[in-house]
Amino acid sequence: MTPRYSPLHLIFAFLGGVVLLFIVAPIAGMYLHTSFGSAMEALGSDDVRDSIWLSLWVSMAGTVLFSFLAIPLAYLLARKTFPFKNLVNALIDIPLVIPHSAAGIAVLGILTRDSLLGKTGEFLGIRFVGHPAGIMMAMAFVSIPFLINAARDGFAAVPVRLEQVGLTLGASPWRVFRTISLPLAWRPILTGFILMWARGMSEFGAVVIIAYNPQTAPVLIFERFTSYGLKYAVPAATLFVSVCLLIFILLRIVRRKG
């Protein structure tokens, strides 16, 4: 009888276990080093709660707002062939490969008072730098590839034939998109939506360039670490990681049902 695991499999399992430990150990260590009292103290702090709430809602606002632009683009990329399509696909992934502090500098460039966007903001009474609107732009810049890529793959998985049948049944292209393409691709889109939201609220490098204040959770954790040390930063970090893990679990549930 063939053994269930050969020596090769056992070696691979050991190496894989080391990697898993490398991922789990730091997070588990953080929880183990956070006493219930310090966690409660962090939870009771207005600064910590405000920073987590700011991270959550600003990232969500950016995700919702940019989804109106990202989803149509994803649909075009999934369905149409056009010149420089590969270039467009590559451009979308740029935020994933550049250092996030550099991304922050780049976003700052289009948000200053001298830029068109900055001037428009000023006209509407919004000064992006140091403002949640600026933070939202920084978060969206680094996280939007997750939504576009997931939505593009989702639309690509919808059979073109169903859309064509919809057209022959008298539906307009808009109705076909709304009643066939979007409902059939909703799960990958939702996955991309959650990924963009989670990635945006975790962003530190780009956000800190645009706005040190108001403080998002990653900035607050950084500030506590540099000003007061590890012991003071860990409870806030643990609390924020817990929120992120909840979102992560939500994402897994969505994917699993898919």
Partner: protein, 348 residues
């Protein structure tokens, strides 16, 4: 009703060439052809899903070449996977009605579902239906859309035999109720059982268009000949001879002697395999056709065996197992074949 004139189209390396035919109002027109010949592409072009290179498509006398797809009023039913999987059967049937903002949706859905026999499945999702039920829903949706013409793309090919006969009966019933249908298939029995008119598609073109009886009694292509069980089918030219009562039928490098009153010119010739005699030596007889050839295949036939002999063209002869043993016939053996001039059936 629907007229396609000189339609040509190119999709990558695939081509449709100068296709012309007319589907009369109330007709059941079947396009018969092998897989990959372009039947589906032709249907999709009529529905507006592909842009033709040239030619016109007119429906009810109006050129629809530039009409947007939703306004063509043409329903297309594929062999599978064309119901919306996230909608119930009811919502699938109601889809064209909601798209066209029709009233009394409920009445139309119920009538269409009753006509197609799926009125008890309205709450179900498409992935819970059998193949036959699935196609009935697709037809009900087409009925609800009140289209001018139904385009059916191999609607019976992915369902089991019992469902198939029920669905055929339904298609005949829909046709009798006055619906015009253009149906493509590779199944000649399906074509025979349903069509009032058949078009034969070969190599990206429409080669023959006629009522079923004419198509199958006088096959004008090897494709149709094979369908009808004709094994030896040749295309060539019939020429009178200066002497004798036989005419010469020239196909490739071979000339057959044929006793026929058909006019000279392009013609088709068929020879029944049972008319052909095999021998190890050339024999003197009343047969006017004698050819030396090599056996390339021996396979079981409907009765006995069928030997394929290469005489410059491949020709099939029916033989018995006894004859095979007595003459020691085997693949690669050189033999003589012969048959009468009257065994050659000619169609001009």
């Amino acid at each position: 009703m629907l007229t396609v004139s000189n339609l040509s189209l190119r999709l990558g390396s695939f081509e449709l060439k100068n296709i012309s035919f007319t589907v009369e109002r109330g007709a059941y027109f079947v396009l018969l052809g092998l897989s990959g010949v372009g039947k589906t592409v032709l249907l999709e072009t009529i529905a507006g899903l592909h842009q033709p290179l040239s030619g016109t498509i007119t429906l009810r006398g109006k050129n629809i070449a530039d009409t947007p797809i939703p306004e063509r009023n043409i329903s297309i039913v594929y062999q599978d996977a064309d119901l919306f999987p996230h909608l119930t059967v009811y919502e699938n049937i109601a889809y064209p009605l909601r798209s066209r903002r029709k009233k009394s949706i409920d009445d139309v859905v119920r009538t269409a579902s009753q006509r197609t026999g799926i009125e008890t499945h309205l709450h179900r999702k498409p992935d819970t239906l059998s193949g036959g039920e699935y196609q009935r829903v697709a037809l009900a949706r087409g009925l609800a859309s009140e289209s001018d013409i139904f385009l059916l793309d191999e609607p019976l090919s992915s369902i089991d035999a019992p469902s198939k006969s029920g669905l055929r009966a339904l298609l005949r019933q829909l046709h009798r109720s006055g619906i015009t249908i253009l149906h493509v298939t590779h199944d000649y029995e399906e074509a025979l059982s349903l069509a009032t008119m058949i078009g034969i598609m070969e190599d990206g073109g429409l080669t023959h268009c006629a009522p079923p009886a004419e198509i199958f009694q006088h096959p004008k292509s090897k494709f149709v000949a094979h369908f009808t069980g004709v094994k030896n089918y040749f295309r060539g030219e019939l020429r009178s001879r200066p002497e004798g009562d036989c005419k010469g039928f020239h196909t490739g490098k071979i000339v057959f002697s044929a006793l026929t009153d058909e006019q000279d010119g392009e013609a088709f010739l068929t020879i029944g395999p049972e008319e052909i005699t095999l021998a190890n030596e050339q024999e003197q007889s009343s047969n006017r056709n004698h050819f030396r050839g090599t056996i390339t295949d021996i396979a079981p036939g409907r009765l006995g065996l069928e030997a394929t002999i290469d005489i410059g063209e491949e020709i099939i002869a029916a033989i018995s197992a006894d004859a095979k043993q007595a003459l020691r016939l085997e693949i690669g053996k050189s033999v003589w074949i012969s048959f009468k001039a009257s065994a050659c059936k000619l169609y001009s």
